[in-house]
């Protein structure tokens, strides 16, 4: 068996934070993920608590006190969230912005998302300061209709918002976002041609927003574009509007975390699922990874489960039951499947809160509310008890529970 001290299962935000915080406490950590990090599909924004009971939240830390007891924040505590955010700030440095209050970040759909941390490249676009905005869409990218998004934003945020759609020069009709990013980052003539097309449409706007395709180093691309707008007599701030998948800001965050994990000495095992385990009743003894057909057993001292929620395959369901597929941990749910959801689309759905329950130490609980295995913790969306999509709280829950599980797992290792 392959020996390791802390085995983290899942490579998203929660798994990465758990692995990193455990490694920084001195534990030898292996991170196994079934496929590429889901951060590539995520916006790159860190939402902590944006809505409670349908109302926008300005100060998430103040609003946490009003959450029910079974909410993950209530379980692991505000200090875990603070520590998780501190770790995030340390990793991202000047690439991210945000303080203790939510900012409203415009999306490609023309809505605003309340979020606590956002990329520096997104910052000049934050809604609310009344500046005049021009959004630029790419004619061949159907995911961002700049005019429609602008109309919707114009009706909801202070300051004029206009939209314009241009054809990016020299590109095939279905060019990938990564292709846009590479050209913007590396091709000066491409940047020249692009600004030449857009400059006449700025018409005195204060800022110009592009879909988030600024590549690995968005600060460089922003500087380059702003210099060209300047030269064209249209001085503006340039910013990125976060997109749906595949997401360049999400990919950047994934890369940042990955570099940190490597620097911290975490062994990364990517593209293979955990399929089995053995336990002696109280402890998980071994965990089996399926490597393209061969079963590879690991013998970890501590395990952190961060496999995602109902959408991400960390929680699964059949017609008559909801379950956690790796360790078969208890997932509370109504007996009758017709009670799993409500009639209205945005109703109080039970399924949105499906997930494993944990204690203050991050350990997964069984049906009786006792610790299931003393060395098994859970973090991120696999943890239930809150509708994080409605509350705009998914990233914050990952940071808080990931930090809690990772540091406690490392403490347990260090004590033996």
């Amino acid at each position: 068996m392959i020996a390791t001290e802390v085995l983290v299962v899942g490579g998203g935000l929660a798994g990465s934070v758990a692995a990193l915080s455990a490694a920084r406490e001195g534990a030898r950590v292996t991170l196994v993920s079934k496929s590429e990090s889901t951060l590539k599909q995520a916006s790159g924004l860190v939402d902590v608590l944006g809505r409670v009971d349908g109302d926008l939240v300005a100060d998430p830390f103040a609003a946490i006190d009003d959450l029910p007891d079974e909410h993950p924040y209530s379980v692991v505590g505000t200090d875990a969230l603070r520590e998780g955010l501190a770790l995030f700030d340390d990793v991202t440095g000047d690439r991210y912005r945000g303080g203790d209050r939510n900012a409203l970040v415009p999306t490609t759909q023309g809505t605003v998302k309340p979020t606590l941390r956002y990329p520096a490249s997104v910052a000049p676009g934050v809604a609310g300061d009344g500046r005049e905005t021009l959004l630029v869409g790419i004619s061949t990218d159907p995911d961002f209709d700049a005019k429609r998004a602008a109309e919707s934003l114009d009706a909801t945020v202070p300051g004029d918002v206009r939209g314009v759609t241009v054809r990016f020069p020299r590109l095939r009709d279905d060019a990938k976002r990564t292709r846009h990013a590479k050209l913007l980052a590396e091709d000066e003539a491409f940047r020249d041609a692009l600004v030449e097309k857009i400059a006449p449409k700025v018409e005195g706007a204060d800022r110009v927003g592009f879909p988030a395709v600024f590549g690995e180093d968005p600060a460089f691309v922003r500087d380059e574009l702003e210099a060209r707008f300047d030269a064209a007599g249209e001085p503006v701030s340039v910013f990125e509007v976060p997109t749906g998948p595949p997401s360049i800001p999400g990919t950047r965050l994934r890369n940042l975390l990955r570099h940190e994990l490597e620097a911290a000495g975490v062994e990364l095992v990517t593209g293979v699922p955990v399929v089995d385990f053995e336990a002696d009743g109280e402890r998980v003894e071994s965990v089996v990874v399926d490597r393209n057909g061969a079963r590879v057993p690991y013998a970890p001292e501590q395990v952190v489960l961060a496999t995602g929620g109902l959408v991400g395959e960390g929680i699964d369901s059949e017609r008559d039951r909801v379950y956690e597929p790796v360790f078969d941990l208890h997932v509370p749910h109504p007996e009758d499947r017709y009670d799993w959801s409500e009639e209205p689309a945005f109703g109080e759905h039970a399924f949105a809160r499906f997930g494993v329950r944990i204690d203050a130490d991050g350990r997964a609980l069984d049906a009786e509310g006792s610790v299931a295995y003393e060395n098994l913790r859970a973090a991120g969306a696999v943890v239930g008890g809150a509708d994080t999509a409605m509350q705009k709280a998914a990233s914050g829950v990952s940071l808080a529970t990931g930090w809690r599980a990772g540091t406690r797992a490392a403490t347990a290792v260090n004590q033996t």
Binding site: M1, R177, R179, E262, G271, R291, G293
Partner: protein
């Protein structure tokens, strides 16, 4: 059916088109395009529509009888990164392999130079068998610039690259000359799948593998074998691949029966035996051989205290390394293995040069029309190698090693050679 022709029965061919049923995979694709953003070819080649198109979309389009496979499938380099990128388990590389085979079968002229060039490259082992009979002469001829120019002009094999030199003694010749296994064991037994490259070009990797396993008390078997099939899959030569795969599955299944596990030193070979064989073929023992196949270093980590033995070594005659994890190591969850294992050696530092694909992808970067794309993909890796302190490269994939040497000028070693140097007190060969 009589038992006499049981060998001829290939269950997968009961599907109407000779293919596996790919509909569930195509239906699982919700077009999130994450695979496209992981594709190293799409990033640099504007003409390549990406894995989402090559997989689920081509499959859907070609359900109509009058629709042929689009020829862009031949620009896929078979790095298989899309497999790991997909959030909903679409078997992308399986779809690509199947589509490529269909394209070559139905749309490619069997009289074209391209077809024969691809077939030549795909069947490297056959070429190597003849070439290695007179290694010095072959090396001189293949290294001749006039021959290279002719290859480029008439065959479409780039003259930019140095043809890999054949060893003066193949691994199998060395193995026979030493009298086979030096260690006998009833309970520690591995069958070595060396592949063509370790046999003909880098026998020192094969020797390292044998010496390391014998150090741990293993009886090593080296059965007759054919190419794993990786270059054949990548060129759509599925019939060639099927013949090679069947031979390998039958040979190694017999050894599995005798208590052997299969170990590979090349990550594309282990990838083929573990994943591509079960996806594409259905010989009687395909799944069983797959389940018993391991990367050599992975196997030692599972069954021996490799970490502990390496940590106890206090003096290793080896430099620091710039390590590149091959795409096919990544897809098997072996991406962090080499740096983790070698971190046990105080004297040796293996510095990871990043996640970029090396760009050569087996035969892909040998084709004249792909050379520039191949080098553009590899650029990031070359830059990182330049920035890294170590002058010596390290990787488990023979063609990645070629690309690393080609782009950086540094010599490249295999992880097993470093472990051999540490455990058996040998120096790394120059």
């Amino acid at each position: 059916m009589s038992t006499d022709n049981e060998d001829d029965f290939e269950p997968i061919q009961v599907f109407p088109e000779g293919d596996a049923d790919l509909r569930p995979g195509a239906d699982s694709c919700y077009k999130c395009s994450t695979c496209d953003s992981s594709c190293p070819v799409a990033e640099v080649d504007d003409e390549f529509p990406g894995p989402k198109f090559q997989g689920p979309e081509q499959w859907r389009l070609t359900r109509k009888e009058d629709q042929e496979i689009d020829d862009s499938i031949m620009k896929c380099s078979n790095c298989m990164r899309c497999d790991g990128a997909c959030p909903s388990d679409v078997p992308l590389s399986q779809m690509h392999n199947t589509a490529r085979a269909q394209y070559v079968e139905e749309s490619m002229s069997k009289l074209s130079v391209e077809y024969w060039r691809n077939r030549l490259l795909a069947n490297y082992g056959t070429m190597a068998r003849f070439g290695s009979m007179f290694p010095r002469l072959t090396n001189a001829v293949m290294g001749n610039s006039l021959v290279q120019a002719v290859n480029d002009q008439f065959l479409g094999i780039t003259s930019e690259r140095e043809f890999p030199a054949f060893a003066t003694e193949t691994f199998r010749e060395w193995w026979a000359a030493r009298g086979g296994a030096a260690v006998k064991s009833e309970d520690r037994r591995v069958a070595y799948f060396h592949g063509d490259y370790a046999n003909y070009n880098t026998p020192e990797v094969g020797k390292a593998m044998v010496r390391v396993f014998e150090h741990f008390g293993y009886e090593v078997a080296v059965p007759e074998q054919r190419c794993s099939g990786t270059p054949m899959f990548a060129n759509g030569m599925l019939d060639d691949a099927r013949r090679a795969a069947r031979f390998n599955v039958e040979t190694f299944a017999d050894l599995v029966d005798d208590g052997y596990d299969v170990v590979c030193s090349c990550t594309s070979c282990s990838m083929a035996l573990r994943q591509e064989y079960p996806e594409l073929f259905d010989f009687a023992d395909t799944e069983r051989v797959s389940a018993h196949t391991y990367d050599a270093v992975e196997y030692l980590r599972i069954h021996e205290d490799l970490d502990g033995e390496l940590a106890a070594v206090d003096d290793v005659d080896a430099p620091d390394f710039a390590y590149h994890a091959p795409c096919h190591a990544r897809n098997q969850g072996l991406d962090g293995q080499t740096t983790a294992v070698l971190s046990n050696l105080d004297d040796v530092d293996a510095h990871d040069v990043g996640e970029s694909c090396s760009g050569i992808s087996g035969t892909y970067g040998w084709k004249s029309e792909n050379y520039d794309t191949s080098m553009a993909i590899g650029e990031e890796m070359f830059e990182h190698m330049d920035e890294a302190e170590p002058e010596t490269g390290l990787t488990e994939c023979p063609t990645c090693a070629m690309q690393m040497e080609h782009g950086s000028g540094s010599p490249v070693k295999h992880t097993l050679q470093v472990i051999e140097a540490a455990l058996t007190d040998r120096s790394l060969p120059a």
